[in-house]
Subunit: 223 residues, 3 copies
């Protein structure tokens, strides 16, 4: 992609990515809560948590007042996502497993990996810091939503979820370090994250489990 | 209430509300841990967590070192609440369901909604930010205590708990925006929060559950 | 120990303690995840969480960008601990219950209590603040790892775990307040923490449980 095309598609990459991520993740979090038969208040709390926890954590880590508390537009975008999930759940049987939710989750992951990498780079952290903040921004909301739903976080069992965001954050850092523009780095991060995530879903990728390597062989499953 | 009466009752609204909230929430958190048969150390940890997690989160969000780490008075108030719960549990059968705990929970919720709204307003966040920080300050401790107790947070299943704090925070913002004094806004926030909370308990208020609206109809209860 | 010997052993006490704590806790967290049959990605996430959550929380509390995001050396030390745990699990049957893990846990606890007390003292918090930050730095990682593993945090049921760090933090504060050097205070904190922790394990120390005192006598065990 030429820088010029990047500029057109991502005039203000942060604003675009932030908007997409908030709506998408609020939708996915709400769909999970609907599946668990939470009531409307619980659905809203889980949806907004999934949308906001990653970005708020990012802002706390780089030592600034969270964007979500500074602008009232953010919460409106989150509520839009919650409303979309409620609408979907009326039309569909398993909203959290539907293609719309699966795509929204992958797109939200890519969008928030990008916002995380952007904010971390602006804050002047290390290369590892950029990758870590991108990953936390992208995967933190889903992990927190799972804790609210009282289950072990999904991201621990899904090899290519948080790691897609980490690879996207690495792509961002590489482009910036190579002298690329923020818009190009943002596009690279988003494309790498969403591409690997969708490929992993499509082809059922996974890392070998520990027990296949002979680890933890001594215990029956006691859970 | 006239501003003059407000000044008398709430000379330093923040200090009064903070004191009340710390003692009340430490008592409630400890009573929950006693119910779950935690030992004395666990009771203290859960009680202090319920008392401090909301306020510490508030301070982190507005980017200041938590008050609880700056003053040794705060921890003393928390330990007083833990002691009260242990004393109550010797005298009563179900301390966490007793009227004292129920009232302490409602009063602590109102007190911390008020401290949250005050600090957020001082930090200059958006209207949504004021409501969000008030709600997190008020409901964060109870949610965290539930996670420590290894159960799905109470606030997700109780429609009129966090939402009472959100309404109280809204009342605070409305009074301040209308030009009212901090003491009047604080009184309004506390009265709205505790009033709606106690009315909800007394009359058994709840929002319609998602499945009543036809959501999530496809799955049996698999939990 | 003479201050001179302290200087030799702990030339830069913070760097030594931080290095020891990161490797030890990453090893312990990874061993827990191996026991629970997590895959390689989950093992890495739990190990790094145990190593970094305490220190990141410490840095957030004293309002600075986490050290772990500012230096790429930190993550390398965490990964070294994860690698050691994987290696151990191939050689041993129950890596998380082996003497190596038990010792690593006690040593990591002492090391992180010391880094926490040092950073808190530099930040100028209250006496309680020093003890609280030392305890959170030391016990926060293990508590978070347990939440990721979907079980009630270990530290709530083990009386002499977090409390050892609190006593170590108190020793640090006492030495500093008495005019002692940072290196002496660090040595005192580490020795007190690890000594009490190992004694508690060896002699099976525990505080009386609440029900022995007649608390919570009304309910059968409903969990």
């Amino acid at each position: 992609m030429s820088p010029a095309l990047g500029e057109v598609l991502f005039g203000d990459p942060f604003a675009v990515m932030n908007t997409v991520g908030l709506v998408a993740f609020a939708l996915v979090g709400s769909a999970k809560a609907i599946r668990e038969k939470f009531d409307l208040f619980g659905i809203t709390v889980v949806g907004l948590s999934m949308a906001f926890v990653g970005g708020v954590t990012r802002d706390i880590l780089v030592n600034r007042v969270p964007l979500a508390l500074q602008s009232s537009i953010e919460i409106s975008l989150g509520l839009l996502g919650v409303g979309l999930a409620v609408g979907l759940s009326i039309m569909l049987d398993s909203p959290d497993e539907h293609l719309v939710s699966v795509l929204a989750d992958a797109v939200g992951l890519a969008a928030f990996a990008t916002t995380g990498a952007t904010v971390a780079t602006d804050a002047g952290v290390s290369a590892f810091g950029v990758v870590a903040v991108a990953t936390i921004n992208a995967a933190g909301g889903g992990a927190f939503a799972d804790i609210l739903l009282d289950r072990s976080p999904f991201i621990l069992f899904e090899d290519f979820y948080a790691s897609c965001a980490a690879l996207g954050g690495s792509a961002y850092w590489l482009v910036i370090t190579a002298g690329g523009a923020d818009s190009v780095a943002s596009a690279a991060c988003a494309v790498v994250t969403v591409g690997i995530r969708l490929a992993a879903i499509n082809y059922g990728w996974g890392l070998p489990e520990a027990q296949i390597l002979g680890l933890a062989r001594e215990k029956g499953d006691d859970r």
